[in-house]
Symmetry: C2
Subunit: 359 residues, 2 copies
DNA sequence: GTGAAAGCGCTAACAT
DNA sequence: ATGTTAGCGCTTTCAC
């Protein structure tokens, strides 16, 4: 527990000089520097970041606020953030924030506020006006990954375009009966992502002259969630689409598993597209819109750090490029299911043509 | 940015009294307390944890060292730790540590050392003697989840017993040809877990009078890893076992997917057991030894906190109970594959009996 | 029950 | 290039 004073004494210099020699700030003659450095080494001196923070007001620590750590998108963003942060000499303090209002409030009013973080990065979390105010009151850069919040920098893919891209791919293959398995709009941690993906989906449909219909199912953004909802959907021959656009790869994979359970072959009888491009997506042969969460995390750190040194911390919104990764989960729709929509409700034989999965 | 002095002034008391009133330490008359509290509220005062730490030496922050954040086991332990920590009013600082030696050193010699953490929790990370020394030098409680390190408290399931349990289940079903898909012993973040699971596996085999043979395959602890290794193994009729014991559910699920790819039916033609019990395991009908990582995380926090207040920070090793969760992925071995082992190499027709998966 | 004062360990003017 | 001085914002003896 050697202190700077100990080091200074051993090196025969003042604390100020010792501090300068060790931190690299200010001019120190090479010889003194060396004396100080070796004295520090001898004593096993490590600067107390607490003391340094108290005087400088900087903590070299950034807070990351995320609703999950285990879901793909979130864990990868976190890994990206961590990577970039440690490279820059920053710690990462993790705050998991879910719906529970009392816990949320605790995080925003107590934990984040204690002058412990130099910046905050939020990951796809929908903030209430109060929460935004609390964050802004920190007087520190705040950047949101996965969606924009008024008054703070943000970083995301263009979710409308991503959804449109996915849907147009399906349309171009000839699909006319596509269902969107997407996030529940009312979920607290929504964040417009869900609604934007739905909007892009509908835009593409409208562009192809397909009138709005019963084409959206609120789905938990997990593999089991996608599985369950798809099982219901695909199990009913009358509702069964030829293609599914899922809001996340987890949903998409759940849907593929459901199809497998029902004996529906992918992609011959059902095309599936998701958004993310996790390693499992590759294994499932899932067609997906790639969104590189890791890079989003790293970029968020750049934005935050940049804002810290900027004179006027102007907010910036950055959109990352997207690409469609076509794998084996999409194909032209099977002939038999391209019956005119109108027939679905009336002509029972249209459904009966399909293998009956209800049994 | 109101300071304690501001609050004290507004309340008409000294800083000392204000501090006592706000922190709850020491006796303060109810009326003064109320005056101070409302003054604090009026000013939006939040104590600077930095300043408090400087004087108390406590940071209300614990460091978590983990090689991954995205793998099941790790992310769930982290969520458990986070949950318990925030409940107790602690922050969680995350350090991801992988093989890269320079990064590791940075974490241990620079980040963790700066008097920033009251305790450290490591998650299944194999520490070098130097690293253990560095941690111990902190003079703070260190608890290891997922394996024991000499000189620090630890928390884990009994990995030998878990592996034995899984293997004995397979043996009791009549399997004689079981292969263990387990972690590479040489991997840096091993931690004896892999070797203990292998040991338990071999113990069970020995107990059943099955001589050691070519029964272990080093496998990355991921779904793609399990998939790839199982694909090779199962694709060769001569090597194909009737059962697989996987060191993790991720491997196990990869193996099930590989079987699916090869047209091998689970469990009729192949039994699979893993360790973990993630929600996906349930979906795959995977038989597994349950290890509740979330609880491991919460318990680690209790241990750490307890050690902080203990006069003599004695180390404790705690083993969590395990249970075998039997789902549909295990069954008695098919008749045709119970040929005597000796025939595998010589009687080509024994292999030819099986569907040829090489093509 | 409350106040005065000391100081945690460092950095940042300001001198020299 | 180096030393002196003054705090950063709290908690905690020690008096009263």
């Amino acid at each position: 527990m050697a202190s700077l004073a100990d080091v200074a004494r051993l090196a025969g210099v003042s604390k100020a000089t010792a501090s300068r020699a060790l931190s690299g700030a200010g001019e120190v003659s090479p010889s003194t520097r060396e004396r100080v450095v070796s004295a520090a080494a001898e004593l096993g001196f490590v600067a107390s970041s607490t003391a340094a923070s108290l005087v400088t007001g900087r903590t070299r620590n950034v807070g990351v606020v995320s609703p999950f750590v285990s879901r793909w998108y979130f864990s990868e963003v976190i890994e990206g953030v961590e990577e970039a942060l440690i490279r820059e000499g920053y710690d990462l303090t993790l705050f998991r924030v879910q719906e529970d209002p009392s816990r949320r409030q605790r995080v925003f009013d107590y934990f984040l506020v204690r002058k412990r973080v130099d910046a905050v990065i939020t990951i796809a979390v929908a903030l209430s006006p109060d929460e935004v105010a609390a964050l802004r009151a920190l007087g520190r850069p705040v950047v949101g990954v996965g969606g924009g919040i008024p008054g703070m920098s943000s970083l995301q893919i263009d979710d409308v375009a991503a959804a449109r891209l996915a849907t147009e791919h399906l349309l171009s293959l000839g699909h006319r009966h596509i269902v969107h398995l997407g996030g529940d709009q009312t979920e607290q941690m929504d964040f417009h992502i869900h609604s934007q993906r739905l909007a892009g989906f509908r835009q593409a449909l409208a562009g192809a002259g397909i009138p709005p219909h019963d084409d959206f199912l609120a789905t938990p953004l997990t593999i089991p969630g996608g599985f369950q909802v798809a099982l219901d959907l695909l199990g009913d021959p009358r509702r069964r689409p030829t293609a599914i656009f899922a809001a996340s790869d987890e949903i998409a994979i759940g849907a593929i598993m459901a199809a497998g359970r029902l004996g529906i072959r992918v992609p011959q009888e059902l095309s599936v597209v998701g958004i993310d491009d996790h390693e499992l997506s590759e294994m499932h042969g899932l067609t997906t819109v790639r969104q590189v969460p890791r890079e989003q995390g790293e970029l968020a750190v750049s934005l935050a750090l940049e804002a810290m040194s900027a004179p006027a911390p102007e907010t910036r919104d950055v959109a990352l490029p997207i690409t469609l990764v076509v794998r084996s989960s999409t194909a032209a729709p099977p002939e038999r299911t391209t019956l005119p929509r109108e027939s679905h409700g009336h002509v029972v034989r249209a459904g009966a043509d399909l293998p009956d999965r209800d049994a």
